[in-house]
Amino acid sequence: MKRKHRLTIYLFILLVIIPVFISGCWDSIELNKLSIISGLGWDIDADTGQVTLTFQSIIPNEIKGAAGSNGSGGQRRGDPLHTIQLDSSTGSSAYDALNRYSQHSSRRTFYQHTQVYVFGHSAAQQGIYPFLDSISRNPINRPNVLMAVAEKNASDTLSVEDGMENIQAIGMAAEIKLSAEYSKYPSITFLEFANRLISKTTAPLAPMIGIIEQTAPKGDRVKKARINGTAVFNGDRMIGQLNEDESRGLLWAINKIKKGFLVIPGANLEIVSAKSIIVPELQGDKIMITIAIDEESNLLEYDGHREISSALLQDLEKDQAQEIESQVMAAVEKSRALNADVFGFGEAVHRRYKKEWPDLKARWEEIYPNIEVVVKVKTHVNEIGEIKKTMIKD
């Protein structure tokens, strides 16, 4: 009896221990055997259709050197891009290129910390679905990676140094996020992009990154990456872009204004808070969309010589409302021209008119350019700053 009991215990111990040791460390990863990918670029050769993936990976050794601790790192100091390695591989498809890269890379690629996916301009125009598919199929990829479209090639964009961050992609991601925070251009993650793609009527967006050349104080020519527009997609193909004003108009309409600045003739205002709502209305066969925007701002500068008075504030509010309306309308005009529902009007109609939607959805491309859009803006100036009287009087 006791013996049997003991046997059970031994068996149990064996059952516990053996799986632990045979499964062991099969999926263990040593950090120094990883190549941490910070940014991924996607280009397609327009002629051959060959896919080129650009891998921007972090070189930890160089960062060690940069951090100033002891160690052997930092051999490539002086090169502004010494902390990252740029490598590319070409293949017939996304995964083909990826596999080719893994084969000639000395370390296992590690995608969990990728900051941005950059699409070359021509690749975006040809359609990025193959890339999206391969990314979303693999659980190691995170849905919160930022998307961006390069003005030219993705590979060039990933090799422009960032003055501040030693990992270029981290700097680029920060720039995109900051531009969204200051309500200049939308930032969009992989997940948001995919959601817009799934909705069929709503057009996916992505900020566009261009490369500018500046003259540094010392006279060197320095390349900088700058966000300069919003790429508009139809399905997975890029069909056009919004400029700065149109991008702002888009953000007003889709309730993505957080803070930022608003310039009207003679004054500059800081947006404190803004809310907007899209209200669709089905009138027979016509769709009318009302975009109601409620904005509050502080006065930052006022160049005129009028005393601050309620009349002046009312004028400022009126001018603001006009400016906002014109920005929104510019975006609307552009989207009509592109026939791309960047605002998600379709989804708004869908939510309100469920029954009619299947019919409308089928004809959405015909309907969209003819939608009547009304913009109602309510503005309010909260604070005027420390001075009330002007220093120069008329």
Binding site: V20, F21, S23, G24, C25, D27, S28, I29, E30, L31, N32, L34, I36, I58, P60, N61, I63, K64, A67, S69, N70, G71, S72, G73, F110, Q112, H113, Q115, I140, R142, I167, I170
Partner: protein, 517 residues
């Protein structure tokens, strides 16, 4: 059975020579056994012997209060008592010796055992009884400051090796007549005095019975330290967690006794055991009660956090680095990866090596002769802290992790040993199975803790089984005036500690009427 009393008790005979022969035989020829022959009574005709062990008795008392009265004062008395030896002994007991505690015994075995514990025996020719005088007076350590359980505002007294001093320390704190010290002897050869201290009416009777039973079950030849007793009476000898508490502070032991626990004091050990021991007690510290409740609560959380850190940190760090680097924030990952660059050992081995190095340093620091201390600490700090990193053997983040862990492990001293063992287990589990391994070991620890009992009291109470009132002294330390009841889990017959509603508040009418204008 308490050792000492042999079953076949040999009575003293009338013949002094015979008695002394038995005593000599029993006590051996050691030169610290002194048998002083003398003749007493006014005629100096009664053969008498004084037996004691040199070093165990107070010499001043022996010379002034025993030998002098016997040999000098007795001769001055001209009464004719000498014809009856038996009444002589009674006379000596009642009128001659100027000492406090005298007992009259007839068994020679009792004489032997008492002499061995510092009594002086007086035997006389023709008398079958012996006088035993309690004259314990050996060299003892003074009451010193506690060395291991420090307190900022609390008393600076700690127990000593002398049982009597320790009971006095407790008695001075609890002047309740119901404070009881039950004593017994354990150890076939060491014959160590053990005292169970409790307050009648506060400590449940059943607990005392249980302790007595467990103590009496011990059948060993020697008890050299109170931890021997701990290991003989603990509830779960195979558990890594202690189920018997201990303290070297009389104030702590007194507080525990007044909560309804019992203490076990041992002659020769400056530490008292306190049972039952609950898990949360490890996180309580005398200063919690001497400081105001807010800070005490914060510090208690710091201790809890520190303990969790000391167990988990290396394991989680290792598992994140080996299995889940995606869980690091990007910037942290980059610096961790930068530090990891070029290191020869896998992370698990690196962690285990550093943990082992720390244990070596700690043990060396504890055991080595004081005079060598500086050398070891300098070498240790240099080797672990600086050289290992700059030589590229160990990453700097790992040194930080291990150092944090090491310091955190000393926040909760009662579980420091347990923490060390689980730290190793966690690190290995994290290195083998990642966070899954950590989770498995955590489940094991939790279910194990929930299954533990200390003398019938659930180890995790009052958290589970939950007792809302009891929580006032767990994650928060409620103000003293709010803790009206003794911990319910201890099942004390007298639950009320104080009358409720004693929160200090300003008087309703000002006592300084003059200011009220």
């Amino acid at each position: 059975m308490a050792a000492g009393q042999f079953s076949s008790a040999v009575s003293l005979s009338k013949n002094l020579e015979e008695n002394l022969r038995i005593l000599r035989e029993a006590l051996g020829s050691s030169n610290d056994v002194i048998i002083r022959d003398m003749k007493i009574s006014s005629d100096s005709n009664v053969d008498t012997a004084v037996i004691y062990i040199d070093g165990l008795v107070d010499r001043g008392l022996l010379n002034h209060d025993i030998l002098r009265p016997l040999m000098f004062n007795l001769q001055l008395i001209k009464d004719n008592l000498s014809h009856n030896h038996t009444s002589l002994i009674d006379y000596i007991k009642s009128s001659v010796l100027t000492v406090g505690q005298i007992t009259v015994v007839q068994d020679i075995d009792i004489v032997i055992s008492k002499v061995l514990t510092g009594h002086i025996a007086i035997l006389a020719e023709g008398v079958t009884r012996a006088l035993l005088i309690d004259a314990k007076g050996w060299e003892t350590r003074r009451i010193e400051e506690p060395k291991n359980e420090l307190s900022v505002r609390g008393s600076k007294e700690s127990f000593t090796e002398t049982l009597r001093t320790n009971t006095a320390l407790l008695r001075r704190r609890i002047r309740d007549p119901r404070l009881t010290f039950e004593s017994l002897q354990i150890g076939e050869r060491s014959k160590t005095d053990v005292s169970i201290a409790y307050v009648k009416g506060i400590t449940p009777e059943s607990l005392i019975e249980e302790i007595n039973q467990r103590l009496q079950r011990i059948d060993t030849d020697s008890i050299l330290d109170v931890s021997y007793i701990e290991q003989f009476i603990e509830d779960s000898p195979s558990s890594l967690f202690p189920t018997v508490g201990s303290s070297e502070r009389p104030d702590v032991v007194a507080a525990r006794i007044l909560e309804g626990r019992a203490a076990i004091l041992l002659d020769g050990s400056p530490v008292a055991l306190v049972v039952p021991f609950l898990f949360i007690e490890g996180f309580q510290n005398p200063d919690d009660y001497y400081a105001r409740p807010f800070f005490a609560t914060l510090i208690r959380w710091v201790r809890l956090l520190g303990y969790l850190l000391s167990i988990y940190l290396p394991g989680i760090f290792v598992s994140l680095k080996t299995f889940h680097p995606e869980l690091f924030p990007t910037q942290l990952l980059i610096s961790v990866a930068a530090a990891r660059e070029g290191l020869p050992l896998p992370v698990v081995l690196e962690a285990l090596l550093m943990l082992l190095l720390f244990e070596i340093l700690r043990e060396a620091g504890l055991r080595m002769p004081r005079s060598l201390g500086q050398a070891v600490s300098i070498v240790g700090a240099l080797v672990i802290g600086q050289a290992a990193v700059s030589a590229g053997l160990v990453g700097a983040p790992m040194v930080i992790v291990i150092a944090t862990t090491a310091i955190a492990s000393f926040l909760v001293i009662p579980y420091a040993e347990t923490g060390t063992l689980y730290r190793f287990i966690m690190t290995i589990a994290g290195g083998l199975l990642g966070l899954l391994g950590i989770a498995l070991v955590s489940i094991e620890i939790l279910s194990h803790l929930a299954s533990l009992r200390s003398l019938g009291v659930a180890y995790l109470s009052p958290v589970t089984p939950l007792n809302i009132r009891g929580l006032r002294d767990t994650f928060i330390r409620a103000p003293l005036w709010a803790m009206d009841n003794r911990p319910a889990s201890l099942d004390s017959p007298d639950t009320r500690r104080q009358s409720p509603g004693q929160m200090p508040r300003p008087p309703k009418t000002s006592f300084r009427q003059g200011d009220n204008q």
